[in-house]
């Protein structure tokens, strides 16, 4: 279970964080949240689908990393086998959180948080967060900058999801795959850009989407479909390797 706490120099003076890629450190995940500003990089390696947040029913974009729960086809021998690593993978164990505010009429400021229960967080392994004077290290400053970009990216992503719903640009999608050994795989619960609706959008609608910075991510998401082939190839080769090692 996660234990995200707001980072404070007085409480977390001695913490170190191991940011390396590793199955033992929690990188075996089959999908990861992404955001529109990242789509152009994501689509070069991973298919982008939309899925519903189980807490709110809102749509959110995810990059698909595997075909089964807990399967990451890009983690091979504790190394990430692709030229672009999704930002929401790289940011672990950090998070931007809005602490609950005593005044319900005010939104609180976003604060950098860390998952104290993550195996990445120790007092002796990895990068230090604070120096002996209690000031943030260069490493932490870089993390803060990255998290701010991610935070803005996710807020923009929430707006993209709302715009897609408003323009009826999402449709449910069931992906039927047949793998090399004949096994068939069905991926359900995903939504994709409704291309026909997109094609028939008025100039006015296209302009609105473009000005909000949504048009490019929409096409990047469509382009990312072809990455499903890569995912299948990785799945086939992973199976073959397992069969050979038996």
């Amino acid at each position: 279970m996660s234990n995200y706490t707001i980072l404070r120099p007085d409480h977390h003076q001695n913490l170190c964080v191991d940011m390396s890629r590793s199955a033992a450190l929690g990188d075996e995940v089959s999908q990861v949240l992404t955001y529109p500003l990242e789509f152009r990089d994501i689509q070069s390696c991973y298919p982008i689908f939309f899925t519903k947040d189980s807490e709110t029913g809102a749509f959110m974009p995810v990059a698909l990393l595997g075909l089964n729960t807990g399967q990451n086809l890009f983690m091979i021998n504790d190394a990430w086998d692709a030229h672009y690593i999704p930002k929401l993978i790289e940011r672990n164990p950090f998070l931007i959180a809005r602490p609950a505010n005593a005044n319900p009429n005010q939104t609180s400021q976003p604060k950098l948080s860390i998952d104290l229960d993550s195996p990445r967080v120790t007092e002796d392994r990895g990068e230090a967060l604070f120096d002996s004077a209690g000031a943030p290290t260069d490493f932490l400053e870089n993390i803060i900058a990255m998290m701010q970009r991610i935070h803005q990216g996710l807020e923009h992503g929430a707006q993209l999801s709302q715009a897609l719903v408003a323009h009826e640009l999402l449709e449910p999608m069931t992906v039927n795959l047949t793998l090399a050994d004949g096994e068939s795989k069905v991926l359900e619960g995903f939504y994709a850009i409704a291309e026909e609706t997109l094609f028939n959008l008025s100039g006015e609608a296209l302009q609105t989407l473009n000005q909000a910075g949504f048009l490019q991510p929409i096409y990047m998401a469509i382009a990312s479909f072809s990455r499903l082939n890569d995912l299948m190839a990785r799945s086939n080769s992973a199976k073959q390797q397992r069969a050979e090692s038996l």
Partner: protein
């Protein structure tokens, strides 16, 4: 004078009037369009500013989901505007014995109902769970106060089938706004004080006290028990059925929850008492609780005492004492005909019986749908619809009354004359008596269904019969595929156990889901 049917006038502004207006207006344009040859339909609803609505009528069937979609109201708006919650069926208690563990009549047919009748297999197991729990998931889901779906489920879709519990007054208000603002229905607030007729006896126009005379081609009587047009004006006789269904009175109360986080029931609760039964409908904000009874077997004070005692034991003693009570008298029964000349009655103006299976609103939906989809082109075509409508709804009322009586006839209570009399053959319609005799040898299944659009499917008969402890005698004749069928039945029972486990783990409780709908709304897809 044109013969074509272009002007519809509805009398009455409760659920019946506004639902009917909405259903017809959703079918036809009420404003001119770009098509120069097309004629819009004019729909006018006249509502008395002084006559109040019946004020109860809080349960719907699953058909209401389709109706709301057709009308164009989102499920998110409906739930928040009408204080609605989800109804998955009815839980009956003390109908068999005066203190029994009850049974559930859910909205989902038994598992595998198309291919196999699980009832016989269920009956052959000595240590069996209650029927509804063995053959479906909904009874267990309801017992845990769980919702029929999740926040990620698209609006109007379901994990298990459901209708609604709602605030009737707010429902009429929402429908009124939607009709007037979005569907082009004309709203006249006035009392009807007179009726002018054509020479042939058709209604020509309605005279009102504060507005002009309102002409029409088709008049829909949604004026409730007063039945202004069909009953008072046309004197269509009323067919009373209190010799079959004895209840003719109700006392209703609205009770707040002890704590705002108390669980919301997933079913309508129906608890029998010595001369009737008590309804308990859980909305997020309050519980609508009422005592239905027959004044031939119990007086008003005794009924009020029953109601207060129920409230005291299920909410709190304080709530029992301080509850404000509303009294309602009704004649159980229906008009001899519902459509006469150019006038048709919908809702309580057509008939009324006790809300044992929440049939009132679904009858409004069915009536309005038939009018909307079969609206005659002109006056001469209306005659045929009059005949079809009357035949169809006469059959439906008869069917409802037989099905409701079924809830009573198998009782084994001896604590009052009411329950003994309910078993008397003189109070049981012939059709039901014959059916019961047949069911001794073979329980109901698909062969029971008479029409494709029967109100109560054969599965409903199973839930009531087996919930009330009925057991057909097993057929002693050997069947070729007995082993295969028993095997298949075992597989279905196991499948049901697994599905139940999954749903119990995955579904939120009613209150959590309704809170989330308030915050996020249901997704459109």
């Amino acid at each position: 004078m044109t013969d074509s049917i272009n002007q519809i006038v509805i009398v009455g502004g409760g659920s019946a009037g506004w639902l009917t207006a909405a259903i017809i207006a959703a079918e036809y344009e009420t404003q001119p369009t770009a098509d120069p040859a097309g004629i819009p339909l004019t729909i006018t609803l006249i509502e008395s500013p002084s006559i109040s609505t019946i004020g109860v009528g809080e349960g719907t069937w699953p058909s209401m989901r389709t109706t709301l979609q057709k009308i164009g109201i989102t499920e998110t708006e409906f739930i928040s505007r009408c204080d609605a919650s989800f109804k998955q069926g009815t839980a009956f208690r003390n109908w068999h014995h005066s203190d029994d563990s009850g049974y559930v009549h859910p909205f989902t047919p038994p598992l595998g109902y198309e291919e196999l009748d699980l009832a016989g297999h269920w009956l052959s197991h000595p240590h069996r769970p209650p029927f509804a729990e063995a053959v479906g998931t909904q009874a267990a889901v309801s017992k845990s106060h769980l919702a029929p779906k999740q926040i990620t489920t698209p609006e109007y879709a379901f994990n298990v089938n459901y209708g609604y519990h709602l605030n009737a007054g707010k429902f009429a208000q929402l429908l009124q706004e939607h009709c007037v603002q979005r569907l082009g229905v004309h709203h006249v607030r006035a009392n009807v004080i007179g009726i002018t007729s054509h020479e042939n006896g058709d209604i020509k126009a309605l005279q009102t006290d504060t507005a002009n005379s309102i002409p029409g081609d088709l008049f829909i009587d949604c004026s409730g028990m007063n039945s202004l047009l069909l009953g008072t004006h046309y004197n269509i006789p009323f067919h009373n059925v209190d010799h079959i269904l004895f209840n003719n009175s109700a006392i209703a109360a609205q009770i707040d929850y002890q704590n705002p986080t108390d669980p919301i029931e997933s079913c309508t609760l129906s608890t029998a008492h010595s001369a009737g039964w008590i309804w308990d409908i859980g909305l997020p904000t309050r519980r609508g609780i009422g005592c239905v009874y027959s004044d031939q077997f119990m007086n008003r004070d005794q009924a009020a005492a029953k109601l207060k005692s129920y409230i005291a034991s299920t909410v709190s003693p304080d709530a029992g004492n301080s509850a404000a009570l509303r009294e309602i008298r009704f004649n159980p029964g229906y008009r001899q005909k519902f459509w006469h000349r150019n006038c048709v009655a919908v809702g309580m103006a057509a008939g009324f019986i006790e809300p044992l299976e929440a049939s009132a609103l679904v009858m409004v939906e069915l009536s309005a749908n038939m009018i909307a989809t079969q609206l005659p082109a002109d006056r001469s075509a209306m005659q045929r619809l009059e005949q079809q409508f009357n035949a169809k709804f006469e059959y439906r009322w008869h069917h409802i009354i037989e099905f409701l009586k079924l809830h009573y006839v198998l009782n084994e209570r001896s604590d009052s004359d009411y329950w003994v009399q309910n078993r008397a053959a003189s109070s049981i319609p012939d059709g039901l008596q014959t059916a019961l005799k047949n069911w001794q040898h073979r329980g109901p299944w698909h062969h029971e269904t008479q029409h494709a659009d029967d109100l109560f499917p054969s599965a409903s008969y199973q839930y009531v019969l087996y919930g009330m402890g009925f057991a057909p005698q097993p057929d002693p004749r050997l069947k070729r595929r007995a082993k295969d069928q028993a095997h298949r039945a075992m597989a279905l029972f196991k499948e049901n156990e697994e599905m139940t486990r999954q749903l119990l783990a995955a579904l939120p409780d009613n209150r959590s889901l309704i809170d989330k709908v308030g915050l996020h709304g249901f997704p459109k897809i």
